[in-house]
Symmetry: C2
Subunit: 268 residues, 2 copies
């Protein structure tokens, strides 16, 4: 039996942490003195504590660890590890992309470019769009899952040929990247009767073409919304994007080309 401070030194964690683990029922002392509430830990608990620290380093939350500690099934552990491995790989990609974005920023700064984006440099134009038949999936999900949605959609195509680039409709008003009402669309011929089609309504749209990485598209949206307000229009429906040139076409994110369209009507 160890006191909390000795036990904390064994595991190289703070006593505060141990009290917290007790509170959330992750690791309770084997014995608590009834008279003074002192916590005492047993030698077997050392291994539990070490496992907790290890899993924490791997990026598991304490809730997840609580479950993993209980299981004696090595397969479940393996699955959890493999999932975490994927997560870490995607973190790596994410960080790498951000690094390259910062690098181009630094280069611009060095060239004396003051890095001030001017909304008026965007070339907003009005366009009458005719209704368009598409195959689509609509789902409420995190933006990060968009790729699996696209895969799913493509596999449901059954040989039908896309006649235009991929599109995405953003049905949300309030923007929250972890929970988006997302509709991925592939335009197809309107007589592809074997598929269940949906028709994107036509009408007047304010549009802009943006070149650059997707996370920087905010400026284009801002320019578009700004233009709409300044020209006596208001948005009348959900905006959508057409991915003219994307990751499948070029490697350099700076070369991505996207058209953003917002259906509009005249203000009364």
């Amino acid at each position: 039996m160890y006191t909390i401070s000795y036990f904390s030194r064994i595991g190289m964690v703070s006593a505060k942490t141990l009290r917290y683990y007790d509170e959330i029922e992750l690791l309770k002392p084997t014995y608590v003195d009834g008279s003074n509430q002192y916590r005492y830990y047993s030698a077997e608990q050392v291994m539990d504590l070490l496992r907790i620290t290890e899993l924490k380093e791997y990026g598991f939350s304490l809730e997840e660890i609580k479950l993993l500690l209980k299981t004696r099934d090595p397969l479940q552990l393996q699955t959890a590890f493999e999932g975490k491995l994927k997560e870490l790989s995607s973190n790596l990609d994410q960080i790498t992309r951000i690094k390259s974005r910062i690098e181009t920023k630094i280069n611009k700064l060095k060239e004396g470019d003051l890095d001030m984006v001017d909304l008026s440099t965007f070339n907003v134009f009005l366009k009458e769009i005719t209704p368009l038949s598409v195959v689509s999936i609509r789902k409420r999900t995190a933006i990060a899952n968009i790729n699996s949605l696209i895969d799913e959609l493509f596999s449901s195509l059954k040989g039908a040929q896309p006649i235009r680039p991929l599109m995405c409709v953003y049905h949300d008003q309030d923007f929250n990247p972890d929970d988006i009402d997302l509709e991925v669309c592939i335009p197809v011929k309107s007589d592809s009767s074997s598929l269940s089609l949906r028709v994107i309504p036509g009408g007047t749209h304010a549009c802009v073409i943006f070149q650059g990485p997707y996370p920087e598209m905010g400026t284009a949206y801002a320019a578009l919304m700004d233009w709409i307000g300044n020209n006596g229009y208001i948005p009348s429906n959900a905006p959508f994007e057409k991915y003219l040139t994307g990751p499948n076409d070029v490697k350099d994110e700076q070369k991505y080309l996207t058209e953003i369209c917002i259906p509009v009507k005249l203000m009364v």
Copy 2:
């Protein structure tokens, strides 16, 4: 002038976020209606909002962004970006190391190794150590900074030859990885009179040799502390580690060799 919801759509953030930015004085609306407290944002603020979102993506905290927004000095911006770049690089390294640790775990699991470490497999031994002269730096810092401390120490060596591997004394009782009382030591000949030496006292030490990555050394510490308690000793001074084989000697972290020593005395 935009209402909060229109402004939030322009910037693709939630209205909640905008109210929060108002509260923390990061981005205050240019005009607030006196009668109903409605917030109104101006067209110029769009760029500020977009910059905030951008810097957030780069990993800056809102406090840092507050400072960066104010400055018109491109050099300061560049410095901040370069610092962030370094931070992201070290994150990349960190994640890569963790990934490879998880991969070896998975391989062990596949081989049927149940991944149960047994403290009793560690070979703890008692050792009489004679006093040792070292050059050292002691500092309270995050464990992540240990490398710069080592560099600093080596550059203060002025040609004196290390006679033993690098050591580190851990003066803390309560372990907190972001704020450690750390002493890095290089053993030198005791007659290196041109340097200011400090002497690590001799005496009885309980020691163990650990093979593997540094973050997994906890098990060895646990085995050591366990042995000490079970054999009628108590720790009498700060523990230290000797880095017998480290990153300068081999690439594979699984091959790192470290000796952990804890000064002990007999319990009364």
